[in-house]
Point group: C2
Chain length 367, copies 2
């Protein structure tokens, strides 16, 4: 009998070269390649149960039931999983009598960070569901990849540790649109510091934003064709040769260009707020002092992700503390991670950060 | 004897397709064409005196002497003026004896708006100096154009009324880099509402900003080659056919794209602030109601210029007053311009505007 329950823990990921724009909305096929690293400390722990019989699929996230009728992506993933299962059964049933047995899914997921913080939790969550179903149904990597992707595009980048390259592919059915681990050896010293600046402003969702940019930006196509492929190569090269300066330059340039094409959209889309810009200036200042030792990157929101080497993390946090208000508990955890002591600034902070997380990067999913 | 004193009043101008990037820093030759309209009500009234003998050039703006050693552009303009004068003398002196007589200049300029508001006052000022010298020395339009341009690039767009097209030209000496009036008939109903949101933040000056974008943006070249020429044509077509909707769409898209290439710069440049974005959203809202009737455009700063037809100005200002604090005197002047009555909002305003100006567009310099 098949194992009917699996629990996995999957990290979120952050793109170093950004994904923005779909070539197929239904299959979630991107207009351009992207490349990412996982954030080890921010994970979704997810139990997936596949139950024989007739019943309703359920998804519970952090103790709350998800209304599946208004979150159709879950149903899409479950339907695809059952299609893949039937396909496999039909092949293994040598007598040709395909006995159709009903199944349904139960998913229980817990994230170790607030979902509302805007930290791309759905990517980790859908990656976990896809990995769980992969184990339950013995799917291959490309099938699992597809399950994650049709749940939430960039989820397919959370299926592996290390540097992950999500290839856009060319085929209409998406069969060559896969995420792959691209460097054999990980860069263990690479850390990130995430600063949550969420300000409660109503923001343009990424699906809506991508659609609008694809339809109206006159710069996006040039970015896709002429800029992104080169940057993907540069990231791979810098990562595999441990060239932090080159890695950082591309990360920052691509974050800026992603927000530039959002601005080159009608109506224009803005994700960076004053706090984000303050952080950009802080990183610029830090890099002016002793060479490029930190890189900022921002997704479709104001929260900052600063990528640096562990050896520079203490000094960067000290600089942050001069002007940014950080919750004391988060500082304590950062101190434990780095075996250092941090104290909140005594000067009146200019900018409020509601959560700081420091984490190694590049770890993979765990069972 | 030559007339040795001239007074001109010259309006500032606002670009509908933006100039960003120089192909020659010294001659101020732009990387791309731009197209603009003047703002009739914001002018620099300037007296230019050319005095025979040996003396020091002086420039006084709004009662204050300009330190010419740290504002070298004035000296560049005066030197060029004297070179043109000598050239003409040499031609007219049939006996070949070129008697070299020394001259120097006195400039006294008064702007009817605060220079510190960041409203491109230098463009109006240098255009006025160039026009003054043109009258004094009987220069042709292309010579006067050059004088204005080497003072402050976009100044050459303030030399005429109507829609003005500044062509980048191809030649190294800048002789084909000229601004020309491009539509025979003006669009008298076209107005603009300028809202000053200057927040005292230290901003990246436009010369420095252009240099940085030219050197680091990977989108600028595509904009220059593939986007701008088409937009210049679209503006001309929309203006000459009085198609406000098409005009507005290009104006907004090009303002957004200009700020997008600023963001696609290393380090990134940001000119729009929260107030600017509030105004963008207000214009979007206004345009959703009864079709596109207003267009925002922002130069290298947070101040907004909203272009609309006179018939829609009252309704737009009413919308502004719901959330933006406008000085009472400015409201009174706006009321006089439109023969309407405006009252400040009684609700607590969200955004502070330090100056509002309403003005017809497209008027030329006056003597």
């Amino acid at each position: 009998m098949e194992q009917n329950e699996v629990t996995v823990r999957v990290p979120m990921n952050i793109a170093l070269v950004k994904y923005w724009g779909k070539r197929d909305e239904q299959l979630i096929l991107p207009l351009n390649d992207s490349i990412s690293l996982t954030v080890d400390k921010l994970t979704a722990e997810t139990t997936v149960r596949m139950i024989e019989g007739v019943g309703k699929n359920t998804v519970e996230i952090n103790g709350k039931n998800v209304e599946l009728s208004s979150n159709k992506r879950y149903q899409t993933v479950f339907d695809e999983a059952l299609r893949l299962q039937r396909k496999r059964k039909e092949i293994s049933d040598s007598n040709g009598n395909s006995t159709s047995i009903s199944h349904y899914f139960q998913v229980i997921s817990t994230t170790n960070f607030p979902v509302a913080a805007g930290l791309a939790s759905s990517a980790a969550g859908f990656a976990a569901i896809a990995l769980g179903i992969q184990r339950l149904l013995n799917l291959d990597d490309s099938q699992a990849n597809r399950l994650a992707r049709i749940g939430s595009g960039s989820a397919c980048r959370s299926m592996f540790g290390g540097l992950v390259h999500w290839k856009k592919g060319e085929k209409e059915d998406g069969s060559d649109c896969v995420a792959v681990k691209t460097c054999d050896s990980n860069w263990p010293d690479l850390y990130c510091i995430i600063l949550v600046f969420n300000d409660g402003r109503k923001k343009v969702g990424s699906s809506e934003g991508m659609r609008r940019t694809s339809e109206t930006s006159t710069l996006l196509q040039h970015r896709i064709e002429s800029i992104v492929p080169q940057r993907i190569d540069e990231i791979k090269k810098a990562y595999s040769s441990r060239n932090f300066e080159n890695l950082a330059k591309v990360i920052m340039a691509d974050s800026n260009q992603f927000h530039a094409v959002c601005l080159d959209t009608s109506p224009p889309i803005r994700y960076l707020n004053d706090a984000s810009w303050h952080l950009i200036e802080l990183v610029e200042k830090f890099n002016e002092e002793e060479g490029i030792r930190a890189a900022y990157t921002f997704d479709a929101g104001p929260n900052a992700c600063v990528i640096l080497q562990k050896k520079d993390a203490k000094q960067f946090i000290d600089l942050v503390l001069k002007t940014i208000d950080i919750p004391e508990d988060d500082l304590k955890l950062a101190g434990e991670e780095l075996s250092e002591t941090f104290r909140p600034s005594e000067a009146a902070p200019m900018v409020k950060c509601s959560k700081l997380v420091i984490s190694p990067m590049g770890g993979g999913p765990q069972e």
